[in-house]
Amino acid sequence: MVEDEVLVRMVISDYLRGCGYKVIEAINADEALAVLQHLDVRVDIIFSDIEMPGAMDGFALATWVRRNRPDLEVILAGSVPRAANAAAELCDSGSLPKPYEPQIVVERIRRLMATRARKPSA
Protein backbone atom coordinates (compact mmCIF):
# COMPACT_ATOMS: atom_id res chain seq x y z
CA MET A 1 0.00 0.00 0.00
CA VAL A 2 1.74 3.14 -1.24
CA GLU A 3 0.11 6.32 0.04
CA ASP A 4 1.57 9.48 1.50
CA GLU A 5 -1.47 10.59 3.52
CA VAL A 6 -1.24 8.63 6.75
CA LEU A 7 -4.97 8.63 7.56
CA VAL A 8 -5.90 7.31 4.11
CA ARG A 9 -3.13 4.71 4.25
CA MET A 10 -4.21 3.58 7.72
CA VAL A 11 -7.91 3.16 6.92
CA ILE A 12 -7.44 1.42 3.57
CA SER A 13 -4.72 -0.87 4.91
CA ASP A 14 -6.97 -1.86 7.84
CA TYR A 15 -9.85 -2.50 5.44
CA LEU A 16 -7.70 -4.79 3.30
CA ARG A 17 -6.42 -6.60 6.41
CA GLY A 18 -10.05 -7.09 7.38
CA CYS A 19 -10.56 -9.01 4.13
CA GLY A 20 -7.63 -11.26 4.92
CA TYR A 21 -4.79 -9.53 3.08
CA LYS A 22 -1.40 -8.96 4.58
CA VAL A 23 -0.58 -5.29 3.95
CA ILE A 24 2.86 -3.68 3.94
CA GLU A 25 2.72 0.10 4.14
CA ALA A 26 4.93 2.50 2.21
CA ILE A 27 4.63 6.27 2.29
CA ASN A 28 6.06 6.87 -1.19
CA ALA A 29 7.66 5.16 -4.19
CA ASP A 30 11.12 5.13 -2.56
CA GLU A 31 9.79 3.12 0.37
CA ALA A 32 7.87 0.84 -2.01
CA LEU A 33 11.05 0.11 -3.95
CA ALA A 34 12.95 -0.56 -0.73
CA VAL A 35 10.30 -3.13 0.20
CA LEU A 36 10.34 -4.76 -3.24
CA GLN A 37 14.12 -4.88 -3.40
CA HIS A 38 15.08 -5.83 0.10
CA LEU A 39 12.31 -7.20 2.22
CA ASP A 40 12.31 -10.96 2.33
CA VAL A 41 8.60 -11.27 1.79
CA ARG A 42 6.39 -12.10 -1.13
CA VAL A 43 4.51 -9.17 -2.64
CA ASP A 44 1.67 -9.86 -5.04
CA ILE A 45 -0.06 -6.54 -5.51
CA ILE A 46 1.08 -2.91 -5.50
CA PHE A 47 -1.79 -0.61 -4.54
CA SER A 48 -0.64 2.97 -5.03
CA ASP A 49 -1.78 6.55 -4.89
CA ILE A 50 -0.87 8.64 -7.92
CA GLU A 51 0.32 11.99 -6.59
CA MET A 52 3.07 11.44 -4.04
CA PRO A 53 6.10 13.45 -2.97
CA GLY A 54 9.48 12.19 -4.10
CA ALA A 55 11.18 11.39 -7.37
CA MET A 56 8.48 8.99 -8.58
CA ASP A 57 4.74 9.37 -8.60
CA GLY A 58 2.33 6.45 -8.91
CA PHE A 59 2.59 6.35 -12.69
CA ALA A 60 6.38 6.21 -12.57
CA LEU A 61 6.22 3.51 -9.91
CA ALA A 62 3.80 1.51 -12.05
CA THR A 63 6.15 1.83 -15.01
CA TRP A 64 9.08 0.62 -12.92
CA VAL A 65 7.06 -2.33 -11.65
CA ARG A 66 5.88 -3.34 -15.13
CA ARG A 67 9.49 -3.28 -16.37
CA ASN A 68 11.19 -4.90 -13.39
CA ARG A 69 8.51 -6.96 -11.66
CA PRO A 70 5.98 -7.88 -14.34
CA ASP A 71 4.70 -10.60 -12.00
CA LEU A 72 3.11 -7.97 -9.75
CA GLU A 73 -0.40 -6.67 -10.14
CA VAL A 74 -0.52 -2.85 -10.08
CA ILE A 75 -3.55 -0.90 -8.91
CA LEU A 76 -3.45 2.89 -9.11
CA ALA A 77 -6.07 5.04 -7.38
CA GLY A 78 -5.82 8.83 -7.47
CA SER A 79 -8.60 9.73 -5.07
CA VAL A 80 -10.08 8.42 -1.82
CA PRO A 81 -13.35 7.19 -3.39
CA ARG A 82 -11.41 5.43 -6.17
CA ALA A 83 -9.06 3.86 -3.61
CA ALA A 84 -12.00 2.72 -1.47
CA ASN A 85 -13.70 1.13 -4.48
CA ALA A 86 -10.49 -0.53 -5.65
CA ALA A 87 -9.99 -1.90 -2.13
CA ALA A 88 -13.56 -3.20 -2.08
CA GLU A 89 -12.92 -4.99 -5.39
CA LEU A 90 -9.78 -6.55 -3.93
CA CYS A 91 -11.86 -7.59 -0.93
CA ASP A 92 -14.12 -9.54 -3.27
CA SER A 93 -11.15 -11.85 -3.88
CA GLY A 94 -9.93 -11.75 -0.30
CA SER A 95 -9.93 -14.73 2.04
CA LEU A 96 -12.45 -13.10 4.37
CA PRO A 97 -15.74 -11.37 3.64
CA LYS A 98 -15.36 -7.61 3.37
CA PRO A 99 -15.87 -6.11 6.82
CA TYR A 100 -18.00 -3.22 5.50
CA GLU A 101 -18.88 -1.39 2.33
CA PRO A 102 -16.39 1.02 0.68
CA GLN A 103 -18.64 4.00 1.48
CA ILE A 104 -17.80 3.39 5.16
CA VAL A 105 -14.10 3.63 4.26
CA VAL A 106 -14.69 7.02 2.63
CA GLU A 107 -16.76 8.25 5.58
CA ARG A 108 -14.23 7.07 8.11
CA ILE A 109 -11.41 8.89 6.33
CA ARG A 110 -13.52 12.01 6.04
CA ARG A 111 -14.34 11.95 9.78
CA LEU A 112 -10.75 11.40 10.84
CA MET A 113 -9.52 14.24 8.62
CA ALA A 114 -12.23 16.58 9.92
CA THR A 115 -11.29 15.77 13.53
CA ARG A 116 -7.63 16.37 12.77
CA ALA A 117 -8.42 19.69 11.09
CA ARG A 118 -10.08 20.97 14.25
CA LYS A 119 -6.88 20.58 16.25
CA PRO A 120 -4.32 23.38 16.26
CA SER A 121 -1.30 22.23 14.24
CA ALA A 122 1.90 21.20 16.06
Binding site: M10, E25, P97
Partner: protein, 142 residues
Protein backbone atom coordinates in the same frame (compact mmCIF):
# COMPACT_ATOMS: atom_id res chain seq x y z
CA UNK B 1 -16.80 -6.64 22.39
CA UNK B 2 -18.58 -6.13 19.06
CA UNK B 3 -22.36 -5.71 18.75
CA UNK B 4 -23.63 -9.25 18.97
CA UNK B 5 -26.76 -8.68 16.93
CA UNK B 6 -25.45 -6.63 14.03
CA UNK B 7 -24.11 -7.86 10.70
CA UNK B 8 -21.25 -5.42 10.99
CA UNK B 9 -20.42 -6.73 14.43
CA UNK B 10 -20.39 -10.31 13.20
CA UNK B 11 -18.28 -9.42 10.18
CA UNK B 12 -15.83 -7.53 12.34
CA UNK B 13 -15.61 -10.40 14.81
CA UNK B 14 -15.05 -12.84 11.95
CA UNK B 15 -12.27 -10.71 10.51
CA UNK B 16 -10.69 -10.09 13.88
CA UNK B 17 -10.88 -13.74 14.90
CA UNK B 18 -9.38 -14.96 11.65
CA UNK B 19 -6.60 -12.40 11.53
CA UNK B 20 -5.61 -12.31 15.20
CA UNK B 21 -5.90 -15.35 17.45
CA UNK B 22 -5.08 -13.26 20.55
CA UNK B 23 -7.71 -12.68 23.24
CA UNK B 24 -9.99 -9.67 22.84
CA UNK B 25 -8.16 -7.57 25.45
CA UNK B 26 -5.06 -7.61 23.27
CA UNK B 27 -6.77 -5.60 20.51
CA UNK B 28 -5.18 -2.46 21.90
CA UNK B 29 -3.82 -0.04 19.30
CA UNK B 30 -0.09 0.59 19.10
CA UNK B 31 1.27 3.51 17.09
CA UNK B 32 4.76 2.80 15.70
CA UNK B 33 6.79 5.80 14.56
CA UNK B 34 9.81 4.82 12.48
CA UNK B 35 11.22 6.31 9.31
CA UNK B 36 12.99 3.16 8.06
CA UNK B 37 10.29 1.28 6.13
CA UNK B 38 11.90 -2.14 6.58
CA UNK B 39 12.31 -1.77 10.36
CA UNK B 40 8.80 -0.34 10.65
CA UNK B 41 7.21 -3.11 8.56
CA UNK B 42 8.93 -5.86 10.53
CA UNK B 43 8.10 -4.38 13.94
CA UNK B 44 4.48 -3.78 12.92
CA UNK B 45 4.18 -7.31 11.58
CA UNK B 46 5.56 -8.86 14.78
CA UNK B 47 3.12 -6.87 16.91
CA UNK B 48 0.14 -7.67 14.67
CA UNK B 49 1.00 -11.35 14.99
CA UNK B 50 0.63 -10.88 18.74
CA UNK B 51 -2.91 -9.65 18.17
CA UNK B 52 -2.40 -5.92 18.47
CA UNK B 53 -3.87 -3.41 16.09
CA UNK B 54 -0.89 -1.42 14.77
CA UNK B 55 -0.89 2.00 13.12
CA UNK B 56 2.29 2.94 11.24
CA UNK B 57 3.74 6.42 11.02
CA UNK B 58 6.94 7.32 9.19
CA UNK B 59 7.55 10.58 11.05
CA UNK B 60 6.48 12.59 14.08
CA UNK B 61 4.25 14.67 11.78
CA UNK B 62 2.40 11.54 10.67
CA UNK B 63 2.13 10.37 14.28
CA UNK B 64 0.56 13.69 15.29
CA UNK B 65 -1.89 13.42 12.37
CA UNK B 66 -3.02 10.09 13.74
CA UNK B 67 -3.26 11.29 17.34
CA UNK B 68 -5.07 14.50 16.41
CA UNK B 69 -7.68 12.55 14.48
CA UNK B 70 -8.66 10.89 17.79
CA UNK B 71 -7.60 7.37 16.87
CA UNK B 72 -7.48 5.67 20.29
CA UNK B 73 -3.84 4.77 20.82
CA UNK B 74 -2.83 2.81 23.92
CA UNK B 75 0.91 2.79 23.32
CA UNK B 76 3.32 4.88 21.26
CA UNK B 77 6.56 3.25 20.18
CA UNK B 78 8.91 5.75 18.59
CA UNK B 79 12.37 5.91 17.10
CA UNK B 80 14.43 8.92 18.11
CA UNK B 81 16.21 10.06 14.97
CA UNK B 82 13.70 10.93 12.28
CA UNK B 83 13.48 13.60 9.61
CA UNK B 84 10.80 16.24 9.99
CA UNK B 85 9.88 19.02 12.36
CA UNK B 86 10.13 16.88 15.52
CA UNK B 87 12.41 14.06 16.49
CA UNK B 88 11.17 11.11 18.49
CA UNK B 89 12.25 12.48 21.85
CA UNK B 90 10.30 15.71 21.25
CA UNK B 91 7.31 13.68 20.06
CA UNK B 92 7.49 11.53 23.20
CA UNK B 93 7.55 14.61 25.44
CA UNK B 94 4.61 16.15 23.59
CA UNK B 95 2.60 12.94 23.83
CA UNK B 96 3.37 12.60 27.53
CA UNK B 97 2.00 16.11 28.10
CA UNK B 98 -1.10 15.82 25.87
CA UNK B 99 -1.99 12.16 26.42
CA UNK B 100 -0.78 11.26 29.91
CA UNK B 101 -2.53 7.86 29.93
CA UNK B 102 -0.72 6.70 26.78
CA UNK B 103 2.27 4.41 27.27
CA UNK B 104 5.42 5.59 25.53
CA UNK B 105 8.30 3.32 24.55
CA UNK B 106 11.44 4.64 22.91
CA UNK B 107 13.02 2.27 20.40
CA UNK B 108 16.24 3.57 18.98
CA UNK B 109 19.62 2.85 17.48
CA UNK B 110 21.07 5.57 19.66
CA UNK B 111 22.98 4.75 22.81
CA UNK B 112 20.57 4.18 25.70
CA UNK B 113 19.68 7.50 27.21
CA UNK B 114 19.02 7.24 30.95
CA UNK B 115 16.88 10.36 30.91
CA UNK B 116 14.66 9.02 28.16
CA UNK B 117 14.41 5.59 29.75
CA UNK B 118 13.39 7.11 33.09
CA UNK B 119 10.87 9.60 31.76
CA UNK B 120 9.08 7.10 29.57
CA UNK B 121 7.89 3.53 29.76
CA UNK B 122 10.88 1.78 28.27
CA UNK B 123 13.88 2.12 26.00
CA UNK B 124 14.81 -0.54 23.47
CA UNK B 125 17.98 -0.50 21.41
CA UNK B 126 17.88 -1.48 17.76
CA UNK B 127 18.05 -4.11 16.43
CA UNK B 128 15.15 -5.05 18.66
CA UNK B 129 15.10 -8.11 20.82
CA UNK B 130 11.56 -8.77 19.63
CA UNK B 131 10.44 -11.30 22.28
CA UNK B 132 11.65 -8.96 25.02
CA UNK B 133 9.95 -5.98 23.40
CA UNK B 134 6.69 -7.89 23.06
CA UNK B 135 6.81 -9.07 26.70
CA UNK B 136 7.42 -5.49 27.83
CA UNK B 137 4.55 -4.14 25.72
CA UNK B 138 2.21 -6.88 26.96
CA UNK B 139 3.09 -6.00 30.55
CA UNK B 140 2.47 -2.30 29.90
CA UNK B 141 -0.89 -2.88 28.25
CA UNK B 142 -2.35 -5.47 30.63
Amino acid sequence: MSGAGSDKGRAHSRAAAAAAPAPAHEQATILIVEDDVLVRAMAADQLREQGYSVVEAASADEALSVLHSNVGVALLMTDVRMPGSLDGAALARMVRAEYPAMKVVIASGDRPDAELADRFDGFFAKPYDVPRLVRHIRALLN
